[in-house]
């Protein structure tokens, strides 16, 4: 067995995946020893790197000129096509949009295509993304295929957790549970890989909670970061002002969040804030997400205390849940406004 540091290096060198060395190691050895299974389930929170790992696996399986068994070259045509999810033998099945539903017809279509011989590669690889969004009948429809697929077919499933799939699905797959990287490690990885500055890398690592995919998304899209800061500023303002302004905010939010998307994003930012407040109020060493807002967070934590902070966190979470269940956004916003405590955060973020 190689030393962990060495493993990490190899994983990074050969598969170009941040973290998850053990998983890369395992999959590599499966390919190298010709012990590939017919179905893998990669589970883990959003942005942890499930899809990347699945694509790398597909590349490693089908690469036209692998430098060594189990390692994709990442430069040949097939590898590049797979990277773009446009290869002839890579069948991608996913819900139409995030939060949508993967329909049973898509699975049936997949079954038909999987039954065909691979077009140019060694294996036909079916990539079923966010399979927790699959309709229950779609999951059931996959069962037989998942247990005994055609000889030259491999199914790769990704999901947020094993529990959100049918147990009958899970028990047919080899499950790899990807978990977030330690914050420090991700920060180091971001510095080394992307050349991000020290401070920015740390912030990204904290914000993403150790999930490389999310960190990359945040670093590539400055718009997302701007939105986050705007959301926090808004919250700070609301905490300090009276009900009239709060209700104006609720009205505004409801008006321009017809698609709910914006409001949901805002709630997510707020949730991260309140969770940080809770963590600080509890006095734990656990890393907070909004590293650049530490001062206001500490202030809020000492002003509110643990119980109240916990209550607020759950309140925001519940509001997000209600939004998901199509409760009137304005109603949610207004109730939330009534429940926000009155504190003025004087300290400014770093």
């Amino acid at each position: 067995m190689l030393k962990p540091e060495l493993c990490a290096k190899i994983a990074l060198m050969t598969w170009k995946v941040l973290g998850h060395e053990w998983a890369v190691d395992l999959l590599r050895s499966h390919i190298a020893q010709q012990k590939l299974h017919h179905a893998y389930l990669l589970s883990g929170p959003d942005g942890v790197g499930r899809r990347t790992l699945a694509l790398r696996l597909a590349q490693a399986i089908n690469c036209a000129q692998p430098p060594e068994p189990g390692t994709p070259c990442l430069t040949c045509r097939v590898c590049r096509q797979i990277e773009a999810m446009q290869q002839a033998d890579l069948l991608v099945v996913q819900a139409g949009s995030k939060g949508g539903v993967l329909k049973v017809d898509q699975v049936r279509e997949l079954q038909r295509s999987l039954a065909l011989h691979p077009y140019e590669s060694a294996y036909k690889v079916a990539l079923l993304l966010r399979f927790e969004e699959a309709h229950v009948s779609a999951m059931n429809a996959l069962l037989k295929m998942l247990e005994e697929p055609p000889a030259r077919a491999i199914l790769l499933l990704t999901a947020d957790s094993r529990e959100s799939l049918l147990p009958t699905v899970v028990s047919r797959c080899e499950t790899l549970r990807l978990h977030p990287l330690p914050i420090e490690k991700l920060a180091a990885g971001l510095r080394a890989e992307l050349g991000v500055e020290e401070q920015q890398a740390r912030l990204l690592a904290h914000l993403s909670g150790g999930r490389p995919g999310l960190a990359l998304r945040l670093s590539r899209d400055p718009e997302l970061m701007k939105k986050r800061v705007a959301g926090l500023d808004e919250l700070k303002r609301l905490l300090g002002c009276g009900l009239v302004e709060r209700f104006q905010f609720a009205e505004r939010t409801a008006k321009d969040s017809k698609d709910k998307e914006k409001f949901r994003d805002l709630l997510e930012v707020w949730l991260s804030f309140w969770r940080d407040v809770t963590l600080r109020a509890a006095g734990t060493q656990a890393p907070i997400a909004n590293l650049d807002w530490q001062a206001p967070i500490d202030q809020a934590a000492s002003a509110l205390g643990l119980a109240r902070a916990r209550e607020m966190t759950q309140l925001i979470e519940r509001s997000a849940g209600l939004l998901e269940r199509n409760v009137n956004p304005r109603l949610i916003a207004e109730t939330l406004m009534l429940d926000l405590p009155y504190i003025s955060l004087e300290l400014v973020p770093a």
Binding site: R172, R177, R308, A320, T335
Partner: protein, 521 residues
């Protein structure tokens, strides 16, 4: 590509089926006596051998061996064909993909043709619970009286979704979860034949984790074996995301100590080392359940080492059964909570913190996340109710510390105030007038604070005759000696008195909407 172990090790003879003696024996006897039914329903949890048994049955009825009880022989042409998946008269239908009534009609059309090779055509309809209602109904007639050469085997994990009309036409066999001991035995056998090195403890954990499903157990073994090294307990734990049991103990210690920092640190250490938040929550629930069992006086049921038992007893004594139940409920919610994709650990963290709060807390009225209590018929200006008790009382009119008790007795006083006024009125209408003009009233232990609008009224009230009369009346009504202190209520009318939540609806009405506090009752 190598075949997954659970497929490679699919039993090919009756004897190889693990843990389903009651089903195997029945079928075997039926075969030996040549009394095969025309429709079977195999129901049971995943990975317990339904499809396997169905295929065995198909093999057995078509086997060419002369001895009925020795079927399937595994050697004849037909047995071989079934094993290799090329037997024409074994028709395996994936009911989850062919759910419609058209599919069933298609089946009905073809079933009348005689078998190609064997004696029987065997239709295995797997995942049969997914058939549509119309499809089920279309199947009914065929299922009741199929041609003599046809046998149906329906297999499902969810028998409750099968219509009663279908159930009554089938011979139903219930597959049970396979006991841990038998799983371990079977895994040992597999490991030996596949030359996999594995620790006994690791096998036990795999078996326990698979909750009676053999496929889960074998595929986990397969996964762990793929690196070709000895499988250790630590490795299994890592793959499963189960935290070391030490983490659970530390967490319970922190719960007893009521130390939120230590509690969350424990959670995060466990998660950083790779355990799954839900899995961890489930482990906590398991342990708490053991504590509950121990606390309710049946410690014999818990299998554990003597040292661990001592530790458990200490933990069990630190809680009352009601507390343990509350904790179990909290952590169980965290274990099943589906939401929160943003931060997977959040439900667990919230459960931890909530667990530390006093058990009374959930019973206390929530802030105002619930709709306001229906206001009684009162002028709309004053929807004032002191029901929303604060946990963080507003600053008092005097500098004295306000205790929870004071808030309570202030509310009490508010309820009694009319009686007090009534009593005073009987004795002296003038004093009654004075007291009636009192703006605010508070209790501080044995002192009653009366707030008046101006010095003049206050001075009048402080005249001995008025003062004593009021004091006596108050003591009489409150049934304990109290003293009166008067002060000038310089607060604005909208100041938020104690007993009213600073963040609640009443406070909001006062502060934002220009409400006036008319009365507290």
């Amino acid at each position: 590509m190598s075949q997954a172990l659970y497929r490679k090790w699919r039993p090919q003879t009756w004897d190889a089926v693990v843990g389903q003696q009651h089903v195997v024996q029945t079928l075997h006897n039926a075969l030996a006596a040549d009394r095969i039914a025309h429709a079977y329903l195999f129901a049971g949890p995943r990975g317990t051998g339904k499809t396997t048994t169905a295929r065995l049955l198909a093999k057995a009825v078509n086997c060419l061996n002369a001895d009925l009880s020795a079927r399937p022989c595994g050697e004849c042409e037909h047995c071989q064909a079934v094993e290799q998946g090329r037997f024409l008269d074994l028709i395996e239908i994936d009911a989850a993909s062919n759910t419609s009534v058209e599919d069933v009609r298609d089946l009905r059309d073809k079933i009348n043709f005689l078998p190609n090779q064997g004696k029987y055509k065997v239709y295995i309809v797997d995942e049969v619970h997914m058939l549509s209602t119309a499809a089920f109904n279309a199947l009914l007639k065929t299922l009741e009286e199929p041609p003599t050469h046809a046998i149906f085997v329906l297999a499902t994990t969810e028998a409750h979704r099968i219509p009663a009309t279908v159930l009554s036409r089938c011979q139903r066999h219930e597959f049970r979860r396979i006991p841990v001991v038998e799983i371990i035995q079977h895994l040992e056998q597999v490991a030996q034949s596949e030359s996999i090195q594995v620790e006994a403890e690791a096998l036990a954990l795999i078996a326990r984790q698979s909750t009676g499903a053999m496929r889960d157990a074998i595929s986990l073994l397969d996964q762990l074996a793929s690196t070709g090294q000895t499988i250790t307990l630590a490795w299994v734990q890592e793959a499963l995301g189960t935290a070391a049991s030490q983490a659970v103990l530390t967490l319970v210690d922190a719960l007893i100590e009521k130390d939120p920092a230590c509690l969350l640190d424990t959670v995060h250490t466990a998660l950083d080392s790779g355990s799954d938040p839900r899995q961890f929550a489930r482990q906590i629930v398991d342990y708490l359940r053991d504590l509950l069992i121990m606390r309710t006086g049946s410690p014999a049921q818990i299998e554990t080492t003597p040292e661990a038992r001592l530790q458990m007893e200490r933990h069990a004594q630190a809680f009352t059964p009601a507390e343990i139940m509350r904790l179990i409920r909290l952590f169980n919610t965290a274990a099943v909570e589906g939401r929160s994709a943003w931060q997977p650990a959040l439900p667990l963290e919230m459960a931890c913190i909530e667990a530390l709060e006093l058990p009374e807390a959930p019973a206390a009225p929530r802030v105002s996340s619930q709709p306001v209590q229906p206001a009684p018929a009162q002028p709309p200006v004053a929807p004032v109710q002191a029901e929303t008790v604060s946990r963080a009382p507003a600053p008092p009119p005097t500098s004295a510390e306000v205790s929870e008790e004071d808030v309570q007795s202030t509310r009490n006083l508010a309820g009694m105030w009319d009686k007090v006024l009534g009593l005073v009125r009987q004795q002296d209408p003038k004093t009654y007038g004075l007291m009636n003009s009192c703006k605010s009233r508070f209790m501080r232990r044995d002192q009653v604070l009366l707030g008046f609008a101006s010095d003049i009224v206050k001075a009048k009230m402080e005249k001995p005759e008025n003062f004593e009369l009021a004091q006596n009346a108050l003591s009489q009504i409150l049934e304990r000696p109290v003293t009166i202190r008067c002060y000038v209520d310089t607060h604005k009318r909208s100041a938020i008195p104690d007993g009213v939540d600073n963040d609640g609806m009443v406070a909001a009405a006062l502060r934002e909407l220009g409400g006036e506090l008319v009365d507290i009752n």
